[in-house]
Amino acid sequence: MENDVIIKIKNLSKSYKGNLKPAVDDLSFSISRNEIFGLLGPNGAGKTTLISVLCGLYKPDKGTIFINGSDLHQHLKSLKKIIGIVPQDIALYPTLTAKENLLFYGNVYGLSRRYLDDKINECFAMLELENSKNKKINTFSGGMKRRINIVAGLLHNPEILFLDEPTVGIDIHSKKIIIDYLSGINKKGTTIIYTSHLIAEAEDFCTYIAIMNHGKIISEGKPAELIHRFENTKDLEEVFLQLTEKSIE
């Protein structure tokens, strides 16, 4: 079952009221189990909308999403249990401590207190946050907040983890800790779907990449395949520029 499909999307479209063009336009693709699937694209390409639809936050206008063989919108509640999400925003309560935040989210998942204590301690150790457990989030640096934000999405050991720009705006040290940690959990069996503007980071981190623009996937493949597919490109950044004809912010 190494390379079986965990997410299968067929003819998926999603439009916002008042917008003439769909944010996601008739997409069909699959994501293999245990993949680190990078979803790249310029601003407004439709990455966040696609992730929101894949997580069940928005209903698609048309198309189907199958996760582990089950229709997402028919089995939304049960499928949410195997999905973890790390939103782009620091989705934490700033006046609560790191531990209080994680205990809250863990309890909402229905996890036991003993399990949560062990999990929190383990995550804090791996993300080098042992001394910050009982500090309020509003006293943390951007990198520390991002690390806690990731832990909050992983408390229930999800099979699939969606990461929306998990390393945006943080220092190299925090970035390395996060990428190493995510690589570790992927090795333990978690499929990762990751969006980013940071093409170089995606090239190193992802095992498979899809480049989106105007709601469509314009190219996909393993990073090395993508680079070889286009002439005069030595890295993924040049591929990206060729495909999107836009500057990277």
Binding site: K81, D89, T95, Y109
Partner: protein
């Protein structure tokens, strides 16, 4: 249940660490009740005690003048003065004093009015015994302007105040006329045979009136004063201001992104929102208890009357819970519909002020116009206030307030339903 209790615990922690929110919920309402009760204590007392200054000009200096002065004094709502700025009261001086707002009213009894009354009474009696036919028109001439009792009022005085003055003057005139004519009849009959019992028929209360103190039927010794109005009224206002921290916390959840994370979670989002609803409903109840304590113990300590709360604790609990739930539902609705803090604060605050104004929080409904009194029936603040008044002033029980409680619960249900539908609509669109 774990998610539900976790949500309550999280809300408690967030609220306890939000000093501004705590201030809005607990300090501001207390300040509001104390200040409003103190500010309105004067006007309420004025309405009930003899505080209205009245300038009295007695040019008659005879029976009519002294009877009118006595009747005005006996009304016990006027403070009579016969001079202004060291000058003895004349018609001109009185007019000037009232126009300057120094007196609420002026009354002028013209010179010679008692003599004019006695003369006309004698003529009326003579005419009735003259043997010639008389009618009401020929019995006496209408008095000239110089013989009319005059009164003038400060334009700021109320209609009921004017009615009180007119009533006293009318009552005094009727009594004087009947008594003077009766005396003239006695004098006429004494020409033929002695009248042994000269009775003042005015004192014969063949038809009498009796005031029954409504409070003796309901709550003993309850007077509708500043405290009885302001404590429940501003408590309702404060409870509805729960919307501010509550809707603020919903908008903050969206701003922080925690809302999105919670929406992705397997537990029903309404379970998590229920934590907010429970906490803020409890906050509303705590606010009420605090306000009650202020009304019962703090306000009397600063010279105001103590709040009387009636005897039905069941009715009080039902209405406090219903009102708190309605306020919480309103907060959830506002927090759901508005996407920015500024929109929420502006719309929410103005809405609560409008609902309070039409709901009789600022001024009691009985002094509103008919139209506004009818409109007030649609304000949830009026439902709560009406129920509190029923319990506090009329010693009402559950059966006297359950309709108001039901209205508040229906309002809550409608607001929650709208919020839920709007959330679903947003998910689809």
């Amino acid at each position: 249940m774990k998610a539900f209790f976790a949500s309550i615990k999280k809300e408690v922690l967030v609220l306890l660490r939000d000093r501004a929110g705590l201030g809005i919920l607990f300090v501001m309402p207390l300040a509001l009740v104390i200040i409003m009760a103190l500010v309105q204590d004067g006007p309420y007392q004025n309405f009930q005690k003899s505080e209205f200054p009245l300038i009295f000009v007695d040019n008659d200096k005879d029976t009519v003048g002294s009877v009118i002065e006595k009747n005005i004094r006996d009304a016990k709502i006027f403070r009579i003065s016969k001079e202004f700025n060291g000058l003895p009261a004349t018609e001109q001086v009185a007019k000037e004093a009232v126009s300057q707002g120094k007196f609420k009213a002026g009354v002028v009894v013209p010179a010679g009015l008692s003599k004019y009354l006695r003369k006309n009474a004698r003529i009326i009696v003579a005419k009735t015994f003259s043997g010639r036919p008389v009618s009401e028109e020929t019995l006496f001439k209408k008095p000239p302007d110089s013989m009319k009792i005059k009164y003038f009022l400060d334009p700021l005085t109320s209609f009921s105040f004017k009615n009180t003055i007119v009533y006293i003057l009318e009552k005094s005139s009727s009594s004087l006329i009947s008594q003077t004519i009766t005396n003239k009849y006695y004098e006429h009959f004494e020409n033929f045979y002695p009248v042994e019992n000269k009775i003042n028929f005015d004192s014969c209360r063949i038809i009498d009136i009796q005031e029954i103190d409504a409070s003796s039927i309901y709550n003993a010794n309850v007077v509708f004063n500043s405290v009885q109005h302001n404590v429940p009224a501003w408590t309702m206002f404060a409870i509805f201001f729960i919307f501010l921290p509550l809707a603020g916390s919903i908008i903050k959840e969206r701003d922080y992104g925690t809302y999105i994370r919670l929406k992705f979670m397997p537990k029903s989002f309404s379970t998590v929102i229920a934590g907010k609803i429970i906490l803020y409903t409890v906050v509303g109840c705590v606010q009420f208890i605090m306000m009650l304590m202020v009304g019962k113990y703090l306000l009397p300590a600063i010279g105001l009357p103590a709040l009387v709360i009636g005897n039905s604790y069941l009715a009080i609990s039902v209405i406090v819970l219903s009102a708190s739930l309605a306020a919480t539902a309103f907060g959830v609705l506002i927090g759901t519909f508005f996407s920015t803090h500024q929109q929420m604060v502006t719309f929410g605050s103005i809405s609560v002020i409008i609902l309070a104004a039409i709901g009789g929080i600022f001024v009691p409904i009985y002094i509103m116009s008919k139209t506004m009194a009818a409109v007030s029936k649609y304000s949830p603040l009026e439902w709560g206030l009406n129920a509190f008044n029923e319990i506090f002033l009329h010693n009402g029980n559950f059966f006297n307030i359950y309709i108001d409680a039901l209205k508040l619960l229906l309002f809550s249900f409608a607001a929650f339903l709208l919020s839920l539908l709007y959330n679903k609509y947003k998910r689809i669109n």
